[in-house]
């Protein structure tokens, strides 16, 4: 596993080195190109701002009112019947909606149950194997101004469900 850590720390600097080397070799004005591309980044970040404020505030209202928690409590017995461990249900439900909330829950699960417990391993796998669908949708479609997203949300949420079920199955098989 040490090799994976080495690869991930070397990857970015190495990539930058190769890009700059090739650019210099081909006599591309590297610094000017960098500044040109970077200007675009400033514009992009500002155009993203209202999309993120809107989505994050709406989710925060839902969370702070206690409605999200109540919903999770309501649906938990149903999911337990399907064989999903009750401790993990809130994380599974929140993962596609709020990245920060999910990360907080994962951290909390790992600290209470221990990183090497079944729940700890399951939370780790779940956190790593799916992304925050709502955030990805907001950022990517928001940045380029896509207003009609058709079946994108459906696909994202079903993919999350598949990821969660796959995590439970795999962790039970490997560590169970």
């Amino acid at each position: 596993m040490g090799i994976i850590t080495v690869i991930s720390t070397w990857l970015i600097p190495l990539f930058i080195f190769l890009v700059l080397l090739t650019a210099t070799w081909k006599k591309v004005p590297a610094y000017e190109a960098f500044v040109e591309g970077g200007k675009e980044g400033v514009k992009m970040a500002f155009s993203l701002l209202p999309f993120l404020v809107g989505m994050i505030v709406s989710i925060a209202i839902l969370r702070s009112s206690g409605a999200l928690e109540a919903f999770v409590g309501l649906i938990t017995p149903l999911l337990v019947m399907v064989g999903i461990p009750p401790d993990i249900v809130p994380l599974a439900l929140v993962r596609p909606i709020s990245g920060t909330a999910a990360l907080g829950m994962t951290t909390e699960l790992i600290s209470t149950h221990g990183p090497d417990s079944f729940i700890g391993r399951l939370a780790s796998t779940m956190q790593g194997s799916t992304d925050t669908t709502l955030y990805v949708l907001t950022v990517y479609f928001g940045a380029v101004g896509i207003h009609r997203m058709r079946y994108a949300l459906k696909v994202g949420l079903i993919a999350d469900l598949i990821g969660i079920l796959a995590s439970i199955l795999i962790v039970s098989l490997v560590f169970g």
């Binding site: 702070s64 790593g128 194997s129 669908t133 990805v136 009609r148």
Partner: protein, 194 residues
């Protein structure tokens, strides 16, 4: 659809607060979270400026083209609508590679560039087939190094912080494969209706 979801999350929250007396918390959350969102966007500036700058250099040096050429056979199958030498493919590949190594920071700017290219192709504000496929790949988060999780596990003194890498790879592979199948299903369903 996103309009309804967005509005109902806030409305349900406010209604629930009315009944359960959590209005104070809601008030606080509205202002705290909008501040958080601004901090998040401002924080994105550094990453976006740096990576879009480097990617522009890479593009002008012809690196994106080479990358596209090497991996094209695999990716053009996933994106049959995109022309063979289109720059969108290069950005999609860079985004997927960055995701694969758990470099979310680098992945986002490249993903946005890919979206921009695909929007130029379709020329409308409706999500195209390729955009949705690309989104499906990103939400199922194909990764081989879940860096954040490993960091948390280290923090809590795990005997083996990286032991979940294997299970994560398997779970993410299944969810990505599932996402692609579901994406195809809805695509064919929508074309049949028209």
């Amino acid at each position: 659809m996103v309009n309804i979801i967005w509005a109902s999350m806030a409305m349900i929250g406010i209604l629930y607060a009315m009944v359960n007396g959590t209005m104070d918390e809601v008030n606080e959350a509205i202002f705290a979270s909008s501040g958080e969102a601004v901090t998040l966007s401002i924080g994105l500036i550094s990453v976006l400026v740096f990576w879009l700058g480097i990617m522009r250099v890479a593009e002008q040096a012809g690196i994106l083209k080479v990358l596209t050429k090497i991996l094209r056979p695999a990716v053009s199958r996933l994106f049959p609508e995109l022309p063979k030498d289109h720059p969108a493919l290069g950005y999609i590949l860079s985004n997927l590679t960055a995701n694969l190594f758990g470099l979310g920071n680098a992945a986002t700017p490249m993903g946005i560039k890919a979206m921009e290219q695909m929007k130029q192709l379709s020329g409308s504000d409706t999500a195209s087939r390729s955009m949705i496929t690309f989104l499906a790949l990103n939400t199922s988060s194909l990764t081989i190094i879940p860096t954040t999780v490993i960091a948390i596990r280290m923090q809590y003194d795990s005997a083996s912080p990286t032991e979940i890498v294997g299970t994560t790879i398997i779970a993410t592979t299944i969810s990505t494969a599932g996402a692609l199948v579901v994406d195809r299903f809805y695509h064919y369903k929508s074309t049949r209706r028209n």
